[in-house]
Symmetry: C2
C-alpha cells in the first residue's frame, strides 16, 4: 500500500466519522415501497386510511420509512366507489416490486376483479414478491383466490365472512376479530377500521415510539390490546 | 271548469294516489348537496372520511340523501398532502350552492389558504349559503377567518388549538372535546376521527336507524355518548 493510498483512506475515514454532514453508504435511508393496487370502484376509506398511516412514516424517521404509491391496470385514473377520480402512480407494466402490497376492497372484489385476468396476474406476482401483504375489507377475496391463504387464518368485512368461507373453504375465516396476522399476510375488516392493519405493521417494523407518534398525528387511539385480533406465530 | 278539465284532474288525482308506481311531485327525492372544498395538500383522511359517511346516505334512503362532490379553484385536480392526485367535480366558478359545506384541512389551512383571496372568497360565500358547515381538523382556521365563529364555541386538531385561540381570540376554543356543534357549525379534530362530524350530521338529519346502518357499513362504533363533545343549544 503506497503512502498516497493510505492518505486517501485516512481522509475517507475522517469523512465517515463526520457522520451526518457527509453522505455515506451507512446513511442511506432504508425505504420500503408500499404499493396499493386499485381497480374501478375501489373504496375511499380502504385505500386512504392505510395509505395515510404508511405514508406518514417518513415524518417519524427520514432514514427508515415507506414510499407509497397507487397501481392501476394502465396507470391511469380510477373512479372510487364513492365517486372520486383518483390518479395512479404506476401501471401493472411499469410498477416496481412492492415490499408491502396493500389490496383495498373494490366494488368487484368478490366477483369482477377475480375474473379479471390482468388484475389477478399482477396481484399474484406482487404477492409472491412482497415482504408483507395487507388486505382491507374484501381485499381478502383476491388474496384468497391466489391460494396464498390456503391453510391459513384470515378475516374480512364482517358481512362477507360467510361468503369468503364458502368461496375458499381452505381458508380458516375468523368471525371474532378485526385483524389477523398469519405469516406475511395481514387481513382486516376495513371501513373506518382500515387504519388498524397499517398501524400493526408500522408498530411491528418501526417500533412503539414510531407508531405512537403516527397514531397521535392521526388522532387515533392505537393500542393493539384494544383490538380484537389474532396473530399466528 | 269544463268537464274535460275535471276529467283530467281526476286522472291526475288517480296518478298521485298510485304512489310509488308513478313519478309524482310528492315522490321527488329530497337531495342535499354536500360540497367538499379542497386546495393543494388537502389531507386524505379529512377529505375521504366525511365523504364516505355522507355519500353512503343514498344507500340508506333513496328518497332522502346527500349528493357529494369536490370543489377546487379551477375544477382541476389537486395533489393531497399524502401525494394522491384527486380530481374535483366543480370549480369555484361553476359550483352550485352547497347545502352542506365541508372544509377539510390542507397543508395551508393555517397560512397559505387564509392568504388566498379566491379560496377565502368562495369559502365565505359557501358558508353564508350553507345549511350546515363541517370543519375537519384545521379546516376550522378558514372558517374562523371568515368571522363566522366569533362568539361561538369550536375545536380543531389537538396540536393546533392554541394557535387557533391566538389567531382568533373571539372564538371559544375547546381543548377537551373532539366534536363541537354551535348553530350550523360543526367543528372537529380530524385525523382518523374525521368520520365523527359526518356521523353526527347524518344522525341529526336522518335519524338513528340511518346512522346505525351507515356506521355498521363503515365498521364504525358510532355512539355520540362515547364521543367527547359539546352541543350548544
Amino acid at each position: 500500500m503506497s503512502v498516497h493510498t493510505s492518505q486517501i483512506l485516512s481522509m475517507l475515514a475522517l469523512l465517515l466519522l463526520a457522520g451526518d454532514r457527509v453522505p455515506s453508504a451507512a446513511a442511506e435511508p432504508n425505504v420500503r415501497r408500499a404499493l396499493f393496487v386499485v381497480a374501478e370502484g375501489v373504496y375511499n376509506s380502504e385505500l386512504m386510511a392505510p395509505y395515510d398511516v404508511l405514508q406518514h412514516s417518513i415524518f417519524r424517521d427520514p432514514n427508515d420509512y415507506m414510499e407509497t404509491a397507487i397501481v392501476s391496470a394502465d396507470g391511469g385514473p380510477v373512479v372510487t366507489f364513492e365517486g372520486i377520480t383518483v390518479e395512479a402512480h404506476f401501471s401493472y407494466a411499469d410498477a416496481p416490486r412492492a415490499d408491502v402490497l396493500v389490496i383495498p376492497s373494490t366494488r368487484g372484489s368478490m366477483d369482477a376483479d377475480l375474473a379479471n385476468d390482468a388484475y389477478m396476474a399482477w396481484v399474484n406476482k406482487a404477492i409472491a414478491e412482497a415482504e408483507w401483504v395487507i388486505t382491507v375489507c374484501d381485499g381478502a377475496f383476491p388474496l384468497a383466490a391466489t391460494g396464498a391463504l390456503d391453510g391459513r387464518v384470515a378475516t374480512t368485512y364482517p358481512g362477507d365472512r360467510e361468503r369468503l368461507e364458502q368461496m375458499f373453504p381452505k381458508v380458516d375465516v375468523r368471525h371474532d376479530v378485526r385483524l389477523v396476522v398469519d405469516g406475511k399476510y395481514i387481513t382486516s375488516v376495513g371501513g373506518g377500521m382500515s387504519y388498524e392493519p397499517a398501524f400493526w405493521l408500522v408498530e411491528h417494523l418501526y417500533g412503539p415510539d414510531h407508531v405512537a407518534a403516527t397514531a397521535r398525528g392521526l388522532v387515533w387511539p392505537w393500542d393493539l390490546k384494544t383490538v380484537p385480533h389474532l396473530i399466528v406465530e
